[in-house]
């Protein structure tokens, strides 16, 4: 198909709200944008295993240990589906991993913050997974078919994780004074980074317009952020914690919560690599990759020998 004819079919599929599939013609820009977005999402799942994974061996009850281990396993599974979705566009998992550990591709900046107490496990489930769900539920209708379908399963599991995180916090809030303080401290540390997960404000988000025209994205960053705030405030009240924002209050005219100014310089700093844990997160991923190289080479050598024997 010529580019002109291809572009026409592509535009019709987008216009009718149907799905682009791997073998369909697509503009180079669309392909590159999808690969970048899916890869960043996959990297986020894999790097995101680290902050919570650090608490598996230290979980204070066997039930919580099992829940956390299962959750981190789900994240590995999400990473795997997403790398596979990126491969349908011609990307290669090993190449994407190299881009991650060489700092050429990003992952969600939220995972560059440390997990200082077990309450962080609950708060990550509630706020970070909650923000992720807000971002991801609309992606279940994203125009690229394999990504949209992966997101349906991922969103189901994320909603399970969020529920578990919230349940841990509810339990801790009914526990000792020390535990309640742990929860409040974790909320104080994670609230603003969670709001930053939706990305820069619309006025400062150059890719949003094109992504919305291609129906990769369905809502702007600021719309999604407002939804998250509106949903989370009543949950915080039910939990009995204070969100660390003196300007947070209901605005009856707008029918939304107003909230304070976000420190965008912090987001820029963390994205550019200067967050509290950037170096550690990448170092751990690189170490796993390097220490596993001999294992992957052996598997490839063994598979090649098997193929020779059969031939």
């Amino acid at each position: 198909m010529s580019d002109v004819a291809g572009e026409k079919v592509f535009a019709e599929i987008i216009e009718k709200d149907q799905r682009i599939e791997p073998r369909d013609w697509m503009p180079d820009g669309y392909r590159k944008t999808m690969i970048r977005q899916i890869a960043q999402h996959a990297h986020s799942e894999i790097i995101g295993m680290q902050p919570e994974g650090a608490w598996i061996t230290r979980a204070p009850s066997l039930r919580r240990k099992a829940i956390l281990l299962a959750k981190v396993q789900d994240e590995a599974g999400h990473g795997l589906y997403l790398y596979s979705a990126a491969e349908t566009l011609g990307a290669d998992r090993g190449d994407l991993t190299r881009r991650l550990i060489e700092g050429r591709q990003k992952y969600s900046s939220i995972f560059n913050y440390p997990t200082l107490s077990f309450a962080d496990v609950g708060v990550i489930g509630w706020l970070v997974d909650g923000a992720a769900i807000c971002n991801q539920v609309p992606l279940c209708r994203s125009s690229y078919g394999p990504y949209a379908r992966a997101m349906i399963r991922i969103c189901k599991e994320e909603s399970f994780h969020q529920r578990q995180g919230y349940e841990l916090l509810m339990t801790m809030m009914r526990g000792t004074t020390v535990q309640r303080e742990m929860v409040q401290d974790a909320v104080n540390r994670w609230w603003w980074p969670s709001l930053m997960m939706f990305g820069p404000p619309d006025a400062d988000s150059p890719n949003t317009a094109q992504s919305m025209a291609w129906k990769i994205k369905r809502h702007t960053n600021d719309e999604l952020r407002q939804r998250f705030v509106d949903m989370t405030v009543p949950q915080a009240e039910a939990l009995g914690v204070t969100l660390p924002d003196p300007d947070l209050r209901w605005n009856a005219d707008r029918e939304h919560y107003d909230f304070g100014a976000i420190d965008w310089s912090e987001l820029k700093r963390v994205i550019s690599g200067d967050g509290p844990m950037n170096a550690e997160r990448i170092a751990r991923r690189r170490q796993a990759d390097e220490e596993g190289a001999w294992v992957r080479e052996a598997a490839a050598a063994h598979a090649a020998k098997r193929t020779e024997v059969r031939a």
Binding site: I46, M49, Q50, G53, I56, T57, R58, P60, S61, L62, R63, A66, L69, A70, Q73, A76, G79, L80, Y83, F118, G130, I133, V137, P138, C140, C155, K156, E158, S159, F160, Q162, R163, Q164, Y166, E167, T171, M172, R174, G175, T176, V178, Q179, M231, P234, Q235, A238, R284, Q287, A288, E291, G292, W294, V295, E297, A298, A299, A301, H302, A303, K305
Partner: protein, 292 residues
């Protein structure tokens, strides 16, 4: 799909039915009678459940330490899965140990509030892995031995042990298959992987002797049809290991398999178990009265 689906019922935390899944795990022993079998010594049964439960708990801990360190994502998934299976077995066995003991201790009291000298696991479970080769060597030995054991325990006179074993057989069959697959790939891979896999098998081999040395508790309960005499597992174990090592082009270790370096079943352990328990128990012990 509605934007709000995932959030809709978060604050109504009593209604599990609105969620795709609940927040807990289904009880795998639902419907199994929990009364203690007649004529069985409670202390013996409790001690035996601790032996098998601690093996699973400590081995699971070592697998948990591999999370985010595995060579491929598929192996992250597999290692987490195996760690989760063994953790599930440990929870059931420790709970049964508490019931048999009758002193009101549950799985968490037993996991978090015992000192190293009260743990009954074999040394193989607590050994740290120097590399992925050692992990799969240890897992092959552990799962081959445990599968042979659980297979026989599925007809135990204690209905709870029998049910735990029957469930475990399916799980540990997969663990053995996973480990054997990697031992073969690494043994028959590159020169480097062959050398490392041979070194890993050699390093694990001295720990195998302890696996087949029966403890008096095991022998007493085996006579009553409740436990398995581990010395009966040797032939099956040797048969499987011989075949896997042959396919993997690995030599059978020249290192003697015994005598056992410690008697984990009597609570004699190395420093490695102390390190594991410091990590596992630290937070739980630092927050007395905490609700998790």
């Amino acid at each position: 799909m509605s934007f709000d689906d995932a959030y809709h019922s978060l604050t109504d935390h009593d209604d599990d039915a609105r969620w795709a899944y609940g927040t807990g795990f289904a009880d795998p022993l639902a419907g199994v009678p929990t009364a203690l079998p007649e004529g069985v010594d409670r202390a013996d049964l409790a001690a035996y459940c601790l032996m098998l439960g601690d093996d699973a708990l400590v081995m699971s801990h070592r697998l948990q330490q591999w999370i985010t360190r595995a060579p491929e994502i598929e192996d992250e998934l597999a290692v987490a899965n195996i760690g989760l299976d063994l953790l599930g077995q440990a929870r059931l066995l420790l709970t049964r140990a508490g019931e048999a003991e009758g002193a009101g201790r549950g799985e968490d009291e037993l996991a978090y509030l015992r000192d190293p000298g009260d743990f009954r696991n074999v040394w193989l479970a607590e050994r740290a892995d120097a590399d992925f080769g050692q992990l799969v060597a240890r897992l092959l030995v552990f799962s081959t031995w445990r599968l042979a054991l659980l297979d026989r325990l599925a007809t135990s006179g204690d209905p709870v042990l029998a049910a735990i074993a029957a469930k475990g057989v399916k799980e540990v069959s997969y663990h053995r298959e996973y480990a054997a697959g990697w031992v073969v790939r690494l043994g028959d891979g590159t020169d480097l992987s062959h050398a490392r896999m041979q070194a890993a098998i050699d390093a694990v081999w001295p720990l195998t002797g302890e696996l087949f040395a029966p403890h008096p508790t095991e022998l007493r309960l085996a006579e009553q049809g409740v436990a398995v005499d581990p010395s009966e597992l040797r032939d099956e174990f040797d048969g499987v290991l011989t075949e896997v090592l042959r396919v993997a082009t690995l030599g059978r270790p020249t290192v003697p398999a015994g005598p056992a370096p410690g008697r984990g079943r009597d609570g004699v352990h190395g420093d490695e178990l102390t390190e594991i328990l410091d990590e596992m128990q630290g937070l739980a012990r630092a927050t007395p009265g905490g609700a998790w």
